[in-house]
């Protein structure tokens, strides 16, 4: 079982300044998309609807912008490190759960978490509270038990 789950966690530095500046940019992104074209900056919705012929252009452009910046960061040698842990099967299962869950729930951390909370949507408040609580329990269980 030890191989299946994450090993004991390494601490990460508390970085409130970077977190706040990054958060402000994400909020600005969501505000701009709504003010300019009246669309929600929800990543799962944008990916999920990418095959819908209507409105494909802005969705493709958004995803292009989203991935071109990390590409630029790599080219300039300022890319942040990604510490991903988990066996291939666990990574695959986690991905399926995130995909199915956000499709069923109609949103993820961006659509429900940032946009939904910002417009005081009761659906989004319920969804965000649920996935936050469940994720905390999952982390406590996997890190404590295994």
């Amino acid at each position: 079982m030890h191989q299946l789950f994450l090993p004991a966690p390494a601490p990460t530095a508390f970085t409130p300044g970077y977190a706040l500046v990054g958060g402000l940019m994400i909020g600005l992104s969501a505000a701009l998309l709504w003010l300019s074209i009246g669309r929600i900056a929800g990543i799962s919705g944008i990916i999920g609807n990418i095959f819908a012929p209507a409105e494909r252009n802005w969705r493709l452009a958004f995803l292009a912008g989203l991935v071109v910046m990390p590409l630029a960061a790599r080219l300039f040698g300022i890319a942040p490190t990604v510490h991903l842990q988990g066996s291939p099967s666990l990574l695959l299962a986690g991905g399926v759960l995130v995909g199915v869950g956000s499709a069923l729930g109609g949103g993820c951390t961006s659509g429900h978490g940032i946009c939904g909370l910002s417009r005081f949507s009761t659906r989004s408040i319920a969804a965000t509270g649920t996935f936050m609580a469940v994720a905390v329990i999952v982390v406590l269980l996997t890190r404590a038990v295994f």
């Binding site: 500046v21 994400i26 995909g99 199915v100 961006s110």
Partner: protein
Amino acid sequence: MRNSLAGLVSGMLFGVGLMVSRMADPAKVLNFLDIARHWDASLAFVMGGGVAVASVGFALARRMEHPWFNRQFPVLATAGITLRLLVGAGLFGIGWGLIGLCPGPALVALVLDPRPVAIFVVGMLAGLWGVRFLNQRR
């Protein structure tokens, strides 16, 4: 054209925001969720900053008749709190808590470190598109 430009700028800001805030790193996310040990409260500042700016944007939009480049604001889902919403959020929370990645950070992390992240992204896309496909056939 203006719609695509709006999407591009918004996507670029989102991508930079995820990197600057370090939310593309699953270790930061998992340590935020791990309130018992090594708690790293950074993610709360990301959410706080994001919601602060976005709520100003949504408030401004309420005084507008239509978006800058579009004829009208859409009417968003008003289905209320359904079982489907809660089950979906629950499944999402399990996956998020197991790996520490959600859709936006997953795409950014895929570019930063493709080899391990790709497995997660394949599962995520299969899940997202699979549910949509089944919904359309119903």
